[in-house]
Symmetry: C2
Subunit: 343 residues, 2 copies
Amino acid sequence: MVTMRDVAQAAGVSAATVSRVLSGSRRVNPELAARVLAAQDELGYRTNLLASGLRRQRTDTVGMVVPQVGNPYFSALMEAVGRRLQRVGITVLLVDAENDPDAEAEGLHRLLDRSIDGLLAVPVDEHASTAALTEAAERVHLVQLDRAAEGVPADLVAVDHLAGIRSAVDHLVARGCSDLAFVSAEPRDSTARERARAFDDAMRATGATARASAFGSYTVEWGRVAATRLVEGGRLPQAIVCGNDLIALGVLAVLGEAGVDVPGEVAVTGYDDIGFATLTAPALTTVRQPVDSLAEAAVDLLLGDGPGEDGPSVQRFVPKLIVRASTDPSAPVPHRRRVQERP
Amino acid sequence: MVTMRDVAQAAGVSAATVSRVLSGSRRVNPELAARVLAAQDELGYRTNLLASGLRRQRTDTVGMVVPQVGNPYFSALMEAVGRRLQRVGITVLLVDAENDPDAEAEGLHRLLDRSIDGLLAVPVDEHASTAALTEAAERVHLVQLDRAAEGVPADLVAVDHLAGIRSAVDHLVARGCSDLAFVSAEPRDSTARERARAFDDAMRATGATARASAFGSYTVEWGRVAATRLVEGGRLPQAIVCGNDLIALGVLAVLGEAGVDVPGEVAVTGYDDIGFATLTAPALTTVRQPVDSLAEAAVDLLLGDGPGEDGPSVQRFVPKLIVRASTDPSAPVPHRRRVQERP
DNA sequence: CTGTTAGCGCTTTCAA
DNA sequence: TTGAAAGCGCTAACAG
């Protein structure tokens, strides 16, 4: 391994000078600097970030924990966050919680033990994630993203799901649907709880009738199961409001296989607007989450000073309903040559 | 920050003893050990992995670089690798190359500078990735996964695309298709090149006729564009062989919008078998890549000794054709309650 | 079995 | 402006 001392020796200067040249922390005689850079190039020297981090007590590294890497919504979030942080020279250490609070807790420890400068977390569970995140918040600047865990003293950047679900329901009601079913994930995380609550509120506000809500997980498979039950149950609702797009994809697949006309017999809405939402037949009407805005706000908070005297802040972004054919036969067909949208 | 010395002091022992107890590296008087553990618990001490890594010259951390986090095939690979490494107590640092060799090179440096113990790479470009990966191979144990870059002295774990494409073509020909079109990515990475080559070979071997192959990128959007051209070109081929599933999804969407009957008028095959392949209408016939086997083999190599005297090894897995409705109207409809397959 | 000591590679005082 | 020296927190070698 080539060390800074090697470079110093080759350049005929002290290690301190090499450090100064490479970090730009102080003015150095241009001639010496040139020798240092030449020596570095010659030897192929690279700074050892372990040693540098240990000494500086900063690593220019932040951690990010997401519930599931394979969920396209989270990968979009990861991409958006990664791009933003790369720009300011910060590396992201990614941890997949595998939808399991224990794996999440272990992942958090792995990150913290590596002396990260900050942490972005999308908590798996509103309650089960609290302990590990609270501990994390004590050790490092933490920002919660997309979801919150109960009682964690950290800023939150999230989406206004009340508005999101409401926009979907309003749209459906305006199109004449009055008999709705809600299919979503068990309200173990804050988004699932808020969306469920929002659906109930919207029912009351619009006077529409709701079937008993069906709660499972944010997966295609659950969408399939729930839709199968509805199909086999006989009388279909006029619309199925899904808690996320994966569920909606499963629902659409089953309805398609069963020969149910969408949106003629049943309208379907999703939530997230993942890339695949334009690919179903019919294309999926969905609530688009502002991934870039979320990532930007979260990163800004993370690079900022942290919660002030008046406690953690909460930032909510209002999502936008994207109307497609699954609720509206007259919705524009995705233009064939248009670049695929990726919110 | 609470350090090992604090724990030592609280337990009335030396730092060395604390280190021994926590790492289990040597026998320690049980009574002292108990005091150490109590003190650790009391103070909430956690080992500083920066310091530990610096001293031990090992970090129990490996890096992984993938072309694009958002591509479901790669996220499946990431998940499989992550699960395997977690089991042996190794943390994965993930870097997204954003399909850009420059970003990839920078990401590689970020990883190497963090003293990773090993590196798993899926090279973005067969040639443009060579320099950075060769340099990486000199600094750390490198294993190439899924794709190879030309001339990099590192083991490779990949898929036998000759067999994969051949199985798709044979299936189509057996079903009576003799006029085929190949739609894939520009052969800038090894998989794209090998699949293109395999398609040509298969044409010769089976005597089927091929349209001029259309090369773009491994994206839904390129699938849309290419399919639009075919549709507008007039006489459609009897089958479209796609270089990956994303392309196939785009192709299916356009054919669907154009009212073309699949597989009646045109059969379509994909490659990868991502989760969404079961969700299209019709469901997609595709070549399933053995993600778990790839991950297992790559991790085993990474944890092993590296290339021996006789140069880098190459391990090829034979993928399996999964026949669904996009090539065969009599193919079994995905069972409604079956757990979603994720290769 | 335990403690003392040295040093991983770097940055940052402090003196010159 | 530059260099010498100390030390970030940990572990391995060496004594005892």
